[in-house]
Every structure is written in structure tokens, then in C-alpha cells.
């Protein structure tokens, strides 16, 4: 499939990057910020509409990579510029293109300095993130993987809060340290797998157990930091608190998913033996993350930190689902990735809305928004209910599938993880009572309700939260075949389990 006679995946990667060049002439022109915002919004919207054609063109009955492109890039090392997507990447690409217009909208009044440069960063970041989900060559993947870090680093470091330098450097170094071990694994795989970087050919080979274990651990370092898994999560609250709203949304909704994507795309199919070997360890870390993140969220006064820790908890559900190696677990994990992207992204957008008005994120300075901002409050309540996995909202589908899938193989682990439903109700309802219910405070008195661009950012997400919750089957059918193929690669039965 092509678009404007450019292969569609290449178009999706480079359209935002190239378009961002259009914005560079406006650098230092403060009178034209309006145009810049509209151009950025237009680009991200076009990108989203074009990406929808993937959904139309995808054949859900195939597990193989589709929309494939392949060109030799660096001949001496057999490195290719090769792209392709399956059901798993498709969902994450759509999540990315869906959320980028929202991040432009939330920056409408949230960003006041150097607007053109900010939008350039957003657009470059979008291209790199889509590249990560499309790349089928390991070196190309690594290039996009690292390329994402730079715009994100700048977004936190330039447009962030008071402690932004510390947070930006911590984010950058922490993820980079993990990524370097990934690079080592990629090179090792090149030699072990027959002098190729083709991801398809590197999977399904039978590597020796020692190699598998070392490779799994090295990749674990990269992906566990990204997700982030306990105990590698402490960069997340810092990065979220300092990042501007758009940065938080991208970080929480899309970048955290890349760690889980890495496990699904590389660790599991390339190192199935090691994956089974490390299952008890991974399950234990997942459960700790679920409970730990929830208790940390209970203690927070800063709304962004509260949601950041809740992300640790919810991503624990994702890793739990991945490492039970059955259809419900992995499909649930993918649903949870998508839903966490929608819901947590929406929650960060919501925090951004009130932060723009009051410049505070402390729960103690809020109250009574139900009266001051009824529409906003309704939406916040819906997103919070989604986050606590109320049936009928999107998140319930993912959590339910993960838990029912994990219960089959690991009943005790699943039971402990299920206590998360109680804890998540505690911290989210606690947040709602402090923000939405009660009486107004000096900060919330006379706060205006949603503006047009905020409606635009939030309403589509409300619709998605409810639609996916009520009719999840169309989403699941996008990746049924890909997951079935992956599960097939993961047999035989686990060597060790929590039983």
C-alpha cells in the first residue's frame, strides 16, 4: 500500500519529520505561534487519518508482517532499511497517531516559550516512535529507539518544570544505560544468528541456553527500565512531574509501551527457553509492581506523581499478562497496553487542563470542581473509573483477560495481583474526592470549564474508553492471529512456575 506514491510505513515515519522542517522558519517569530500550532495539528491529524488506512488494509487473518518494505541500507554489515507491521504493532501505531493531535491540543496554551521548536520536537518524536513499531531490522529498530530519546530529553529539559534538568538527565541516562546492553545483544545475535539483523530471521532459531539467558538479561535491562518494572521505576515520577503535559502523555501512553513491545517482539520469541526460565522472577516483579505502585500512589499529594505511580501498577499487569504465555494473558496485556495509553494519557491531559488554570497539581489545593467545571469533572470521573478498571470501560477488558489468563497457570500470583482492584479504587476515588467533590478552594473558585481545544483533546478519548469497554472484540480481532502465532512459538510448557 502506498500513499502519494510513497510506501505507507515510510510515509508515516517521515511525514511528521519532514513537515517539522516547515516550522523551522518560524523560529523566533512570536507573532506566528498560532500558525505553528495549526500546522502541527494539521500534520498530526493527517498522520492519524493516513494511519487509519493501515486498519483498513490489514488482513487480520495473517500473522505475518504486512505492508513490508525492504531495501539494503549498509551493505558491509547486511543492515537493511526494512519495515513491516503485524497486529501487535498496528494497535500501538494507531495509539501513537491518535494521541499526538491530543498532545498538540494540550500544548495550545500549556506551552508559551519557543512554540515552534516544541512542535518540531513533538513531530520528530512521533516519527521516531512509529519507526520503533515498524522496524523489522534490528539496527534500524535501535536507531529509532535511541532517536526517540533526544526529542523527549529536550521536551523535559527545555519546557519542563523547576527541576527539569535533573529529571531530563535522569531519564536520559537511565534509559540509555539499559539501551546499551540491548545494543550488545543485537550485535551478539548478529553473530549467533547467521550474520543478519533481520528480526524475522533472528526469531525462531534455537540458541543455546547460556546465550539465551545472557541475551534475555541484557534485553531485560533495556525493557524493564522503559516499562518501568519494579525496582527500576524511580525515574518515572521525576520525569512526569517535570515534563510538560504533552511530554507526560507521550511518556506514559506510548514510550512505556515500548518496553512491553520489546518483550513481546524480541525477548519471548527469540529466547523462549530463557523466558520460561525467568518466569517466576518476572511474575514476582510484576506482582510487586502492581502492589507497590498502588501503595505509592496512595501516598501522593501531587496528582502527576499519583498517576505516575498508578502507571507502575498498571504496567505490572501488562508484564504479568506477557509472562503467563497463554492467549488470554498476552491479548489481555496488549489490551492493557492500549487502554493504559488511552486512559492514563487522558488523565494526564486532565491534570494539564487544571494545571494551566491554577499552576498547581497538589490535591490539597483543589476541591469542588464538580460545581465549577461540570463537564471537566464528568470526564475526569469517567477516566478515573476507567483507570480503576470498572466493567464497561476499556481497562476492565485488559485486566480481566490478564487475570483470568494468569489464573489458569499461576493461581496464587493472579490472586495477589487481583488485590490491585481494591487498591486502585482506593487511590483513584481518594483523588476524585479531593479534586471533584467537596467545596471550592481559592484556586478552584471561578475556574472556567473546558475550552474548545480541550474538548477536542478529551472527548474522543471518552468515546474510546466506553466503546472499547462495551465492544472490545473488534480491537481483539486485530491481533488474534499475531498473538496465536506468538503463543505457538512459546511452547513447550513452562519449566518453572510459581506453583
Amino acid at each position: 500500500m502506498t500513499f502519494l506514491s510513497i510506501p505507507i510505513l515510510t510515509f508515516l515515519i517521515f511525514f511528521p519529520v519532514v513537515s517539522s522542517l516547515l516550522l523551522l522558519p518560524f523560529y523566533r517569530r512570536h507573532d506566528s505561534e498560532g500558525i505553528v500550532k495549526w500546522v502541527a495539528l494539521g500534520v498530526t491529524l493527517v498522520e492519524f487519518v493516513v494511519s487509519l488506512s493501515l486498519l483498513v488494509g490489514q488482513d487480520p487473518h495473517l500473522y505475518q508482517m504486512q505492508f513490508v518494505e525492504n531495501h539494503l541500507w549498509i551493505p558491509f554489515a547486511n543492515i537493511h532499511y526494512s519495515l513491516g507491521i503485524d497486529g501487535i504493532s498496528l494497535v500501538l501505531i494507531l495509539l501513537t497517531t491518535l494521541l499526538l493531535p491530543m498532545t498538540v491540543l494540550t500544548s495550545w496554551s500549556g506551552i508559551s516559550k519557543q512554540v515552534p521548536l516544541f512542535m518540531v520536537n513533538l513531530l520528530v518524536l512521533e516519527g521516531a516512535m512509529i519507526g520503533v513499531f515498524c522496524a523489522t531490522d534490528f539496527v534500524l529498530f535501535y536507531v529509532f529507539w535511541e532517536a526517540m530519546l533526544i526529542p523527549m530529553y529536550l521536551i523535559i529539559g527545555v519546557w519542563g518544570g523547576p527541576n527539569r534538568i535533573y529529571a531530563a538527565i535522569k531519564f536520559f541516562l537511565y534509559t540509555l544505560a539499559g539501551s546499551l546492553l540491548l545494543l550488545v545483544t543485537i550485535i551478539a545475535l548478529y553473530f549467533a544468528g547467521g550474520h543478519t539483523f533481520d528480526i524475522g530471521r533472528l526469531t525462531g532459531q534455537h540458541y543455546g541456553m547460556t546465550f539465551q539467558i545472557l541475551g534475555f538479561l541484557a534485553m531485560f535491562a533495556a525493557f524493564a527500565v522503559k516499562i518501568p518494572m519494579f525496582p527500576f521505576h524511580t525515574w518515572l515520577p521525576d520525569a512526569h512531574v517535570e515534563a510538560p503535559t504533552a511530554g507526560s502523555v507521550i511518556l506514559a501512553s506510548i514510550m512505556l509501551k515500548m518496553g512491553a513491545y520489546g518483550f513481546l517482539r524480541f525477548s519471548l520469541p527469540m529466547f523462549p527457553g530463557a523466558s520460561h526460565f525467568f518466569t517466576p522472577f518476572m511474575l514476582a516483579l510484576s506482582i510487586i509492581a502492581i502492589i507497590w505502585g498502588a501503595f505509592m500512589a496512595l501516598a501522593q499529594e501531587d496528582m502527576k506523581k499519583l498517576i505516575a505511580y498508578s502507571s507502575v501498577s498498571h504496567m505490572g499487569v501488562v508484564t504479568l499478562g506477557i509472562f503467563v504465555f497463554n492467549t488470554q494473558g498476552i491479548e489481555g496485556a496488549l489490551m492493557q497496553m492500549l487502554n493504559h495509553g488511552i486512559t492514563t494519557g487522558a488523565l494526564f491531559l486532565c491534570i494539564g487542563v487544571v494545571y494551566d488554570r491554577s499552576h498547581s497539581r497538589l490535591l490539597s489545593e483543589y476541591g469542588g470542581l464538580a460545581k465549577q467545571m461540570p463537564v471537566y469533572s464528568t470526564m475526569l470521573v469517567i477516566f478515573a473509573l476507567s483507570s480503576l478498571a470498572l466493567p464497561g470501560t476499556n481497562s476492565f477488558v485488559g485486566e480481566f483477560l490478564v487475570l483470568i489468563g494468569s489464573f489458569k497457570n499461576h493461581a496464587i500470583a493472579s490472586s495477589i495481583a487481583t488485590t490491585g482492584v481494591i487498591l486502585s479504587a482506593m487511590y483513584l476515588l481518594y483523588m476524585l474526592s479531593r479534586v471533584v467533590w467537596g467545596v471550592y478552594t481559592p484556586k478552584t473558585y471561578a475556574m472556567p470549564d473546558l475550552k474548545a481545544y480541550e474538548w477536542g483533546a478529551l472527548l474522543p478519548l471518552v468515546v474510546l474508553v466506553i466503546m472499547i469497554g462495551l465492544v472490545p472484540n473488534p480491537v481483539l480481532s486485530v491481533f488474534h492471529q499475531s498473538v496465536a502465532h506468538l503463543v505457538g512459538q512459546l511452547q513447550p510448557v513452562p519449566l518453572a512456575s510459581l506453583h
Binding site: T234, Q300, K371, P391, F400, I404, F407, L423, L429, P472
Partner: protein
Amino acid sequence: MTPIIFIPLLPLIGFLVVGIFWPFFKGKGHFIAVPLMIGSWVIATSEFFKSFTNPPNVTFVYDWIRSGHLDIGISLQYDHLAAIMLFMVTTVAMLVHLYTIGYMHGDSGYDRFFSYISLFSFSMIMLVLSNNLVEMFIFWEAVGLCSYLLIVHWYERRPSWLAANKAFIMNRVGDFGFLLGIFLTYSTFGSVSFAEIFPAISSHLHQTVNIASAFHGSMNIPVLDLIALLLFLGAVGKSAQIPLHPWLPDAMEGPTPISALIHAATMVTAGIFMIARMNPLYNAAPFAAHVVAWTGGITAIVAATIALTQPDIKKIIAYSTMSQLGYMVMVCGLGGYGAGIFHLLTHGAFKALLFLGAGSVIHSLSGEQDVFRMGGLRKYIGLTFVTMLIGSLALSGIPPFAGYYSKDLILVTAYQQGPLGQILWMIGVLTAVLTAFYSFRLMFLVFGGKERFHSDQAGHGGHGIHPHESPWTMTVPLVLLSIAAVVAGWAGEHYGVLEYLAQELPIPHQDPVAGGMSDSALKGLSVGVGVLGIFVAWAFYGRESSIPGSLAKGLSFFYKLSLYKWYFDELYDLVFVRSSFLIGRLFWQELDKGVIDETVNGVAAFFRNSGLGLRRYQTGQLQNYAMVMAIGVFGLVAFYLVFNRM
């Protein structure tokens, strides 16, 4: 298309229209919500009468989740149990919709309120019509959500949102059990639908699970018992059984129509409905059934003892609800599912009546809820008085009112279920005395004696209060419900509710106790204890008496235990709420920030400090470099010479 689908659909439309377009209604939301609810009631009623002849049927709506071998659909299962439940649910919902027009008149959240009670009615109807456990769970949580949103209706008041949070979180504890029950059902039976589980139960009778395997212990319990207990945990939360009950009395912070609809007649009975629906499971799980029976019995009596001393009119009725729910749970645990459902239905009528009556009293006194600040209201609000009297007589089990038939059936069923049944029967009889007592304590304090509301109404500018009867939208539901509270019991017995329900709920074998009391003696006894309770209430509160005061002094330990609700709230607040937040804060400060993050920063600092330290050796002076080089060369040569010799 079957008309059954319109029973839930109409209130759903009401919710969507009023909920989405609420800014345009400006206090006229009832023009949409009420007619739609009446339509739903009409269909439910006509289908109920048709159900005597029509066979049960299942309507498939749509496929919800399909993943691997898991396939969960949304379907409407319409059988006798569902039909009679829907008849009660839609009747009460329709009357409460009507009542709300008058009660909530002028409230700033009037239209929002209507959209939520329509959503609730939809969810409750769907819960009753569920044909699998997951579908039931979805609507189980949906009714919980409506309960939350309606308790927090007056959201500016701190007690409202505290109560709403408590209700939601305590129910989540129960739902945690319900979810695990679903998981275990699925991994045992490979399905969650009733039609596939029930026939397979007999083949899992001897299967056990080792729940201590994680600790390398061995503690085998039958899998059916475990499923039944886990699901029951959900019922304990939803139906406010001990120990997950404290949310129900607090939920009275919500507007009174909600207390009548959600927290008396329908939602809180969902737990009993679930147990009845799952009766093949509970019949095959004797241990779990014992736990159910005891939980119900203990809840019945403990709640009744608390209701004795409460000063708040709504809380008295709330504890009475909890106690009556205990009766229903108890008899279900003894195998008398039909009796439990029968009491559920009559209770739905007379308890909704009592709540709506209490609402009318509160309305007439402009928001007063303390029974010690009422009194003598009989001559001001006569209609409310008569209807509440009917409700109280029904609750006390005085013939020919509805509660007599169903409560008596519960006690007789219990009595005939062997020694365990007889112990629980005794608890039930004792509870019946207390029930009659607190019901009439309320009646005497509110409607009899002196007027106590003029003297201390400083808050109203010294004008005092002029009690007034409520508008017709409020009194018509009262009258209709009181008719139901009179005839429902008789009709149930006359037309054979147990035989009607026998399609789904088997009637337990009647086992007349040798040398025990006959049926008529049991009936006489249960009427007798009701009359006794009313007489004592009159002796204490129907006349000038110093007995209550001296009893409170003389038995101050028991008085305080009752007044402070057995200190459940204080205990839970300390053990669960405060400790959770404390653990959160402590672990965050000491471990998350203190240990984990410090380690991360420590690694970074190590490299930074190493760099800073090494930097001092880069002095830029050639002599230093030359000297280091010379030492290095010398060292290497020495090393080579020494080790090469060896």
C-alpha cells in the same frame, strides 16, 4: 424481536438522553425518564404474567469478548426467577422515579439524578437477566457505580463523599472475591455461563484444590466450596453482610429515594439473588452453605441490636434492612432459596415504603432526621403515618401484612433443617422480637407523644417548623407500596410463589421435627414475638417512661456497643484505612525514595565522583605526564622481567 429487550432498553435510553443533554433539561428531566421507566414496568409486568405459561428463554444480544477459548456474550435469560425479580425491581424503580419528582424538586442536580436512577434501573435489570457470571459481574459493578454516584449526589458535603468512597471500596473488597470466584469457575469448568456450569457440577464434586501449595503446605478444600465461598464474598459486600456491612448505613447520606430503591429494595438484594441463581453450586457445596447460613444469622441479629438505639431515622431503617438481608442470606444457606427470594420480594415492597415514608417525614420537617427531634407528627402528616404504620407492621411480621408470610416461611424452613437450622431459627426468633421493638420505637418517637421539633429549631430563625404533607407525586407511591405491603405476602402464598420459583429454585425437603413444634405453633410463636416486641416498644416509648434512660445507664456497656455500632467503623478505620495510607507514605519515603532511588542516584554519583576525582590528575603540566609515563614504562619493564623469568 422479543419484548424483553425493551425492559432494560427503555431506562437505558432515559439515561442516555437525560445524561448527555442534561444542560438543556433545566429541571424537566422527568419528562423523559419517568415515562420510559413506566414503559419498562408495563412490559415487565405483562411478561411476568405471561411467564406462568411461557417457557423460559434466552435472548442473545452480542458477543462481548472472544479470546482463545474464552467466549463471553451478553444475553438475556428470562425465566421465573428473573421474571418475578424484574416485576419487583421495575415496580419499585417506577414508583421511586415518580416519588423523586416531588422529593428532589428544586435540587440543583435534579436532571443528573434522573439520569443516574435510570442508569441504575437499566443495570439492575441487566443484572437480573444475566446468563453468565461475567455478565452478572459487569452489571454488579455497574449498580455499584450508580450507588456511588447517587450517594455522592450532594457532593459538597464531606460525609457524602466519604460514604460514597466507603461504599465503593468495601464493595470492591467483595468484588475481589467475586472475580476470583469467576476465575476459579472458568479454570474448573472452562466456561462462565450458567447453562454450561450447572450440568457439570456433579462431575466436580470430589475435586479439591490445595490452597497452601505456595507455602509447600497441604490444605485441600473442595473446589466447589472454594468457588462458592469466593462468590459469596461478593454477596457479603453487595448485600451488606458482616464483616463488609458498614458502608450501608453510611450510604444513607444519599437522597432518600436512593435509599429506598438501591439500598433497600434492589441493589443490596443482588447478593441474595446471586446465591439463588447459583443454587446448584451452593447445594453441592455444604461447607460454603454453612458459612452462608451463619453469616446471615449473625448479621440478622447484630444489625437488629444496633438498630435498637440509633437516633437517625434513616439509619434505623438501614440497619433493619441489613438485618432482613441477613434473614434472606441465612435461609439461602439452609437451602430455602425460594423462601429467601419470597422475603426479598415482600421486603422490597415494605422497606421501600418505609424509606419513602421516612423521606416524607424528613421532607415535612425540612431535613430533620433525628427521631428525638420529632414526635406527634401523626396529626400533621396522617397519610404518611398510616402508610408507615402498614410498613412497620409488615416488617414486624404481624398478619396479614406481607412480612408475616415471608418471614414466617424463613423461620419454618430454618426450623426444619436439622440442629443447625434450629440454632439459626432461635437467632431468627430473637431477631424478630428486636425487629418489632425498634420498628415501633421509631413509630412512637416520630408520630406519637409530644412535639419535640418546635423547641430547639434555632437554626430556622426561631420560626419553628410547620410540618406539611408531601405532594401527590410522593404520596401516591406511598399508597401503592402500602397496598403491596398488605397483599404481597398473601398473594405469594395463595398463588404459590415457591412452586412458581421451583422452576429454578428447588424446594428443600420439609422434615417435620419429631417431638418439635408443629407448623401452626411456629406460626403462632412468630406472631407472638412480634406482638411482644411492639408491646415493649410501647412500654418504653409509647408513654412517659424512664425505662430507656435507666436501662442505658444500667447496661451502659451494651448501650454503647449498640449506639456505636459494635465499633466496626473505628476498627476498620484503624486497621485498613489509616494503615494503608501509613504504609504508602512510609514505604514511599523510606524505601522508594530512600533506598531504591538513592541507589540509582548513588550509581550516578559514583561515576560523577570518580570523574571528578580522576580529573585532578589531568593537570596539563608536561612534567607530571612525563613522570607518570616514566613510572609506567619502568613498571612494565619490571613486570616483564620478573614474570618472564618464572
